[in-house]
């Protein structure tokens, strides 16, 4: 069974990771009110904490270079065990997609289209995603590089333009908050953009890696993406200062303040379009991965007939998930830190250990050799 026939380049893979992390800058309000002026520190903590987690992912995909997460589960836990664990992952992927879809709807509603019902915004959006997903992985990841370049250019521009309204004082005092809030903040940042990289285990087998380079590109994407996220938070913090905690979309508020010249308009429209584009990338990728996982789970030849039904389900799911955005923020702050680690740390770790105990990678390799010989 080989659903995805096209292969993407390692560079595309790296930029896909970057784009994935970068698009999470929208969600900074999940942790900014908790740690205030130390938000940037929390990102660094989060990156450090994420390193061992990434190591798990990398070792998993090194051990099973030709199988995606669902296939790995089948190999490691056997047919039935694998199916059950994969089902959990499937739920996780779908939830992630729906969550991001919801974020987009709320963002567009808040920033530009306040009167349009979010359902319509989301339906139009998911149709577009469905179109991209229809063409497969190559189309989905194709523009990662372009999006990252554009967003970095806008980030740089906003830094240059706003340099005179940044305050060094905004970052002070450093480390002056209860330990608990740091732990909570670090946990959120680890779980929300960084730990979600577990979804990339689904597409690693479709990248043209020379084995050694996997670490370089995976880590490269993670580090660069993390740095971009850090830069965004630093900018927002430097400009908004202690008011950062008030806003549900800090970056958007920052961009509203920045003026290119005294009379020449505001850059927020650029930012809104940029964020829509980045979120599009993330949602499309997640949507694609969910479908891929679904088709491997059900062992079907193609997921194309499932695209539209799944899209409809996602729209419904993203709407019944929460009643209000307050509830969602509470979910992000209070439930995700305890729930997401199961998928992002615990299960991959268990998989790795079981594989190690059963000496599975070795068998796998022998099998491959046999395949080659045959």
């Amino acid at each position: 069974m080989n659903i995805e026939k096209s292969r993407i380049s390692p560079l595309q893979f790296m930029f896909a990771i970057m784009c994935f992390i970068r698009s999470s800058s929208l969600l900074s309000s999940f942790f900014t009110p908790i740690v205030n002026q130390d938000s940037w520190l929390v990102i660094i903590f989060g990156m450090i904490v994420s390193l061992p987690v990434l190591w798990i992912y990398i070792s998993l995909s090194k051990a099973f270079p030709k199988s995606n997460l669902i296939e790995i589960n089948d190999l490691v836990f056997g047919r039935i065990g694998g199916k059950i664990i994969s089902a959990f992952y499937l739920w996780f992927f779908f939830t992630l997609t729906a969550l991001n879809l919801r974020d987009l709807g709320i963002f567009v509603g808040k920033s530009t289209m306040s009167k349009t019902p979010p359902v319509l915004i989301i339906i139009v959006f998911i149709l577009l995603c469905a179109w991209a997903v229809y063409y497969g992985l190559e189309v989905v990841t194709r523009y990662g590089i372009v999006f990252i370049l554009i967003s970095s250019a806008i980030l740089l521009l906003s830094f240059l333009v706003s340099i005179n309204i940044m305050h060094r004082e905004s970052f002070l005092p450093i480390l002056n908050q209860p330990l608990k809030s740091y732990i909570q903040g670090t946990n959120i940042i680890t779980m929300i953009p960084f730990g979600e990289l577990v979804v990339f285990l689904m597409i690693v087998p479709y990248v043209d890696f020379k084995q050694k380079k996997l670490v370089r590109y995976f880590m490269g994407g993670f580090l660069l993406g993390g740095l971009l996220l850090l830069a965004v938070i630093l900018r927002d913090l430097a400009i908004l200062g202690n008011t950062l905690k008030y806003f549900s979309l800090p970056s958007f508020e920052t961009l509203r303040i920045i003026r290119l010249f005294d009379s020449l308009g505001h850059m927020e429209i650029l930012f809104a379009i940029l964020l829509i584009i980045l979120l599009f990338f993330k949602v499309t990728l997640l949507f694609y991965i969910s479908l891929l996982a679904l088709s491997y789970w059900l062992k079907i030849e193609t997921f194309r007939p499932f695209i539209l039904p799944v899209a409809a389900l996602l729209v419904a799911y993203s709407f019944i998930m929460f009643e209000s955005s307050m509830q969602q923020t509470a979910f992000a702050r209070e439930i995700i830190p305890f729930f997401w680690p199961i998928f992002e740390m615990l299960l991959p770790f268990i998989t790795l250990i079981v594989a190690y105990i059963r000496e599975l990678p070795k068998k796998n390799r022998e099998k491959e050799k046999e395949d080659v010989k045959v």
Binding site: L128, W131, I145, V146, I277
Partner: protein, 540 residues
């Protein structure tokens, strides 16, 4: 309703195919004629040819006597107008009639006589022997002269093409400030010669085929062996062979028959009127298709960025060339999205317009009767109509029309308060920007309206979705197996994409297209005055 239309269409198709299949007899007949051998009886053969070609006035059959004491009977068959009179009289008629040495009794066999005629008498470099009437008629129709002689069961075909043709002139579409000014003509041979003259490599291949049941148009697939990817060459040939039509009027026909995505807004096959452009593309590994009767040569595969490159980019120094290229990208974005942005800003996101500008726009729009979107559509429509009228009319009249349209109507509409001046300005910028990227202007005109509708329905969100949609579509396009936006997304060969690097830097041919021979320059070092090749005088 669709079902109905569908049914109708199918019925129509059925009828068409039926008509095509119905009269099988003449086809059999013509097959027979094609296989009919030349009998050797001059009058009978001529009669047969006359029957085949009908009573066309331009078909000339000239019977004459030649040889020693005019003992031999011969005939020339040619189409008046297609043959050069000079060749006919000076190289064929004159030598034949003036030669008195040829005697039928001197030769032992007929083959020898004909060889003598061919080798010692006729003054032409391209003479072939043909045995069937069909071949004879075919070459006669394509401008050659047929020489028949009494008692011989074969004919000599003497190349004498020489009809009136346009000389090589500066092309109308791709004018340059710096660079070669010659363009292709409608003449097939001239065009192949223009290419051959620029690539003096033994590896240049010009593979010939003819397409079209009725027109029998000469088509030539030109590529450089080794540089072009053999897979692409094979694909091109296979697609050309599979064209099943009776007529090829222009290379535009061929483009539409062989393109990958007939429903896409974007062209996936390129064309140019300039031999330098075509040869440059062939040197990048592309395949050129020259078709008789068209001054436009088709190239495949085509990448999106090709539309933003001009030949002049490579003839001037890289800085300005790169700048111009960036302007072209901007122009394309402007021409596609400027009206959409204007609508989005003025009907959805007024907060983004600087205060003073907003107040100006409001006062300009105050009192105009239509909603902004309708106003934009009206203006775009009237611009397209004006352009169409300007192109079709004779040149002096066309200018008059544009003056009346642009100045009088535009000015009057604004002063009368029917449309707002800012909108007119926006549409004008859009219209001007369209011509910076002529290759994509068809796509741009349609995209512009799509974006306009999106913007008027969903504002900036609509525009963002529109851009994403276009990007997805572009990513899904392929031209002869090569992804359409290959070097748009930093895959490879970025030295000649968004900007143009110096020529010495572009040492590799485009990876996605090229075959075996991948390097262009041996080294990619800048020319330096200290290198061995430079003469010592240059060093101070």
């Amino acid at each position: 309703m669709f079902k109905y239309i569908n049914k109708k269409l199918r019925y129509g198709f059925f009828r068409l195919t039926e008509q095509n299949n119905h009269p099988p007899k003449p086809e059999d007949d013509s097959k027979k004629t094609q296989e009919t051998l030349i009998s050797g009886n001059l009058t009978a053969d001529l009669e047969y040819i006359r029957k085949l070609l009908g009573t066309s006035s331009d078909i000339k059959m000239h019977e004459f006597r030649y040889g020693e004491d005019f003992q031999l009977k011969g005939a020339l068959v040619f189409v008046d107008g297609l043959v050069s009179n000079e060749i006919l009289t000076e190289s064929i008629m004159k030598p034949l009639i003036m030669n008195r040495n040829l005697s039928p009794f001197q030769t032992s066999s007929m083959q020898k006589t004909l060889d003598t005629v061919r080798q010692t008498i006729l003054c032409s470099g391209d003479i072939t022997e043909k045995y069937t009437i069909g071949e004879l008629v075919e070459s006669c129709l394509s401008g050659d002269t047929v020489f028949l002689s009494e008692g011989f069961d074969k004919a000599l075909i003497i190349s004498s093409k020489g009809w009136e043709k346009r000389s090589i002139t500066e092309p109308q579409t791709e004018s340059v400030v710096r660079g070669p000014r010659e363009g292709f003509t409608e003449n097939f041979r001239t065009n192949t010669a223009l290419i051959r003259r620029r690539i003096k490599s033994a590896n240049l291949r010009l593979d010939h085929m003819s397409i079209g049941e009725k027109t029998d148009t000469n088509v030539c697939v030109a590529y450089i062996d080794g540089v072009a990817d053999p897979n692409i060459v094979d694909t091109v040939k296979a697609r050309l062979k599979s064209i099943n039509t009776d007529a090829i009027m222009d290379s535009g026909y061929i483009e539409q028959y062989i393109e990958d995505h007939p429903f896409s807004l974007f062209p996936t096959v390129g064309y140019s009127e300039k031999p330098d452009v075509i040869t440059a593309r062939m040197l990048e590994g592309r395949v050129a298709i020259i078709s008789d009767g068209s001054p436009f040569v088709t190239t495949a595969p085509m990448l999106l960025l090709e539309s933003f490159q001009t030949s002049e980019d490579y003839y001037i120094r890289p800085y300005f060339a790169s700048l111009l290229r960036i302007f072209r990208y901007l122009a394309f974005i402007i021409t596609v999205s400027a009206p959409a942005f204007f609508i989005a800003l003025t009907t959805y996101h007024q907060e983004l317009i600087p205060t003073t500008l907003l107040l100006t726009i409001i006062s300009a729009r105050e009192g105009t009767p239509f909603p902004a979107t309708l106003e934009a559509i009206i203006l775009i429509l009237s611009f397209e109509i004006l352009r169409e009228a300007g192109v079709r009319l004779p040149r002096p009249l066309g200018q008059a029309i544009s003056i009346v349209g642009a100045l009088v109507m535009g000015e009057a509409a604004v002063t009368a308060g029917l449309v707002g001046a800012p909108m007119v300005i926006t549409i004008a910028i859009t219209a001007v920007a369209e011509f910076a990227v002529p290759d994509q202007s068809e796509a741009a005109s349609i995209l512009r309206i799509i974006f306009l509708v999106l913007a008027s329905v969903l504002g900036a969100y609509g525009i963002a979705l529109g851009f994403l949609g276009v990007l997805i579509h572009l990513a899904s396009l392929k031209s002869f197996g090569v992804p359409y936006c290959t070097n748009l997304t930093f895959n490879h060969n970025m030295q000649d994409s968004y900007i143009r690097m110096p020529l010495w830097f572009m040492s590799k041919r485009p990876k996605a297209i090229v075959g075996q021979d991948k390097t262009r320059n041996k080294t990619n070092t800048p020319p330096s005055p200290l290198s061995k090749n430079s003469s010592p005088e240059e060093n101070p």
